[in-house]
Symmetry: C2
Subunit: 393 residues, 2 copies
């Protein structure tokens, strides 16, 4: 009889701030953002704060600081003392965490113009973000990521999620945040493995998009590994910037298609995390995944050996392993099919032709994958070859 | 240190088809839409169908027809026999329904390029839509609404939701469908109260946006009430069209602001539904809500009496009541504050200056609301006044 072709355009805008000492009394950045669109005579803006338990171990005064911060700010009202919730991957496995945040949104009258402020690592932000996005069809979410990985990648993006039915991120939505605050001071108390682990996403995005940034990481690998704050600040900002640029300009921010260029190295990484029961953390798994796909690209004749050497050597210099025994299990290859299902439709894998030169392929050869694993196990190419003879091996 | 201002643009496109006999073997409309972007060598497109139990009572052969329809279509695979789920408002109160759909998505490998096809009334579509939108961050949702109300309003829109913590639509997301199929033949078996009840949204959108359409409804009120299919087809299409136009052009499809122009008459309607334990259905409640707000607008000096008479007389001619005893309870006024919280921020209520001439206000006077309720109870103005003397009463 008739067809109407509907088109709906939605524009999401959010600032990503880089700061230090976010909850210091004199730092008005957060308060100003939350008061942004406050109207006269509508009462104070309501704020529900959710904090990653792990962060409170290293920052004993944090919840007191948060409470004090809001107490002195007119027009903002903390609806209850900050909720402390277990962080890390386990927070995404327990549906009661999502329910607790939704319940608090309900109980404290947090509406679509109020805020859920989540402070923690990527997993906690994913969980709290899912709860916020589904309450009242989305209350405003402010993300305060506390790890390298969340500051330079997940927390500046548009996704949330929790695990269900044994599948990672089975439940989730695309929901841009209201604002993001990256506080460098939270990074200082990270364990060494999380400090360097988060840099694998920086290596990834440099390989895909910015050869100059890759050069910066090579030059500053030792400083980064030795916890130089200036080098880390630059790495986090540039990595976040590249991720944000991609989301804004790729043309498919909500991933309607099959292509996920930023998932370079991630098909194996996701599987390795699960196979190790998340003892291998995301950043560590991504380092191995990138090493695998780069080695594969070399063996497939796409990536010159000299470029592969740069990739593997950078991980080594940062203190990140490029091999883990689980790579040799048959489940890794099976993970490729799960990744296909996760994408939906066609398998699409990002590989490399060189530093800063990605290339998408639609199939991987299993024999070559096994050969790449064997090479990584041998540990070749992990330091720059010294002579022409060695390089030709 | 630095601030990056991120902007993400997302374009959602979906067709809304008007057809008859959707699952007839010779009707390729649905199959063609589902095969739309199928790629060679990626296997058949997977389809999970969820059907409103109430619809199967009136269409005994429906699930067999659906199964037969997909069996004969190459490239499409029904992953399991259609799930039959209780419809009506109760489906939105039971979290196990959402879980059952998510579980089926998981168990049958429905991915982001596969489909959940939901067949039923607005409540069933809201529930299944929420489950689909949260699985894998959104699998494709095809809506096949079976009531006047869902065909002309909710199912062509961008929302889903279920009830939680005693609050209507507390859990939900904004998630445009992949496609909508309005099949006129489903309407023929509706109870009379649902046939006419759904027309209150047509009256609403005509009052807000299209005086000519309001004239059509006046002229065809008797035919509509007497189940004339041609008149109903026109009413449904025009009402859907006006809703779609509003969503596409209002500038705020995901309701980031406080203004909800399409919620004319809805603040009281939501409350009346809850107060009657949903015995008053949504369309019936909206008729009363529009009658209340129109009478209020007249008493407030905004709406001329002649225009108010047209509004109330049209409802009467369609067979819709403009008063219900629950209007006199104090909870209705309390509902105004809940509506304010639901909107977040500032109270914003749409009223009328005339047919096709809406006017937004930011407060309502409680005394005037009570006077409007009293007038509706008296039943004045429900038929056009015959003489100048009567009109002046």
């Amino acid at each position: 009889m008739k067809t109407i072709r509907q088109q709906v355009e939605v524009t999401f805008r959010y600032p990503v701030h880089f700061t230090r000492n976010l909850f210091a009394a004199e730092n008005a950045l957060l308060a100003d953002a939350l008061l942004g669109d406050a109207l006269p005579n509508t009462g104070p803006k309501r704020v529900l704060v959710v904090v990653d338990e792990g962060v409170t171990w290293h920052h004993a005064g944090l919840t007191a600081d948060i409470t004090a911060y809001f107490a002195q700010r007119e027009g903002l009202k903390l609806v209850t003392t900050p909720l402390i919730v277990t962080g890390g991957e386990v927070t995404k496995n327990a549906p009661e965490n999502v329910l607790a945040v939704q319940q608090a949104v309900h109980a404290h009258g947090v509406d679509r113009h109020s805020y859920v402020v989540a402070v923690g690592g990527g997993a906690l932000l994913d969980m709290a973000g899912y709860a916020a996005a589904t309450s009242h069809r989305g209350v405003r979410l402010v993300r305060i990521p506390t790890t390298v990985l969340s500051q330079n990648d997940s927390a500046v993006g548009v996704k949330n999620g929790v695990n269900a039915f044994g599948k990672k991120n089975f439940l989730g939505t695309f929901a841009p945040p209201y604002a993001v605050f990256n506080d460098l001071d939270f990074l200082k108390t990270l364990e060494q493995r999380d400090w360097v682990g988060g840099l694998s996403e920086a290596v990834k995005v440099a390989l895909l998009k910015d050869a100059e940034f890759f050069g910066f990481l090579e030059e500053n690998a030792e400083a980064l590994r030795n916890r130089d704050e200036g080098a880390m600040a630059h790495a986090v900002i540039r990595c976040a910037e590249l991720h944000l640029e991609h989301i804004a300009t790729s043309g498919d921010p909500f991933e309607f298609g099959s292509s996920r260029p930023l998932d370079f190295g991630h098909w194996a990484a996701h599987k390795l995390e699960a196979l190790t029961d998340y003892n291998l953390r995301h950043g560590e798994a991504v380092a191995v995944g990138i090493a695998l796909d780069s080695t594969y690209a070399h063996l497939a004749g796409m990536l010159p050996e000299s470029e592969l050497t740069r990739v593997l050597s950078l991980f080594t210099a940062l203190g990140l392993d490029t091999f883990t025994p689980e790579l040799e299990t048959p489940e890794v290859i099976a993970g490729l099919n799960e990744f296909r299902e996760h994408l939906g439709g066609e398998l699409t894998i990002m590989l490399l032709e060189g530093v800063g030169r990605p290339l998408e392929v639609h199939e991987l050869d299993e024999t070559l994958i096994r050969r790449a694993v064997a090479r990584l196990k041998e540990g070749l190419w992990t330091t720059p070859p010294k002579t022409g003879l060695e390089a030709a091996r």
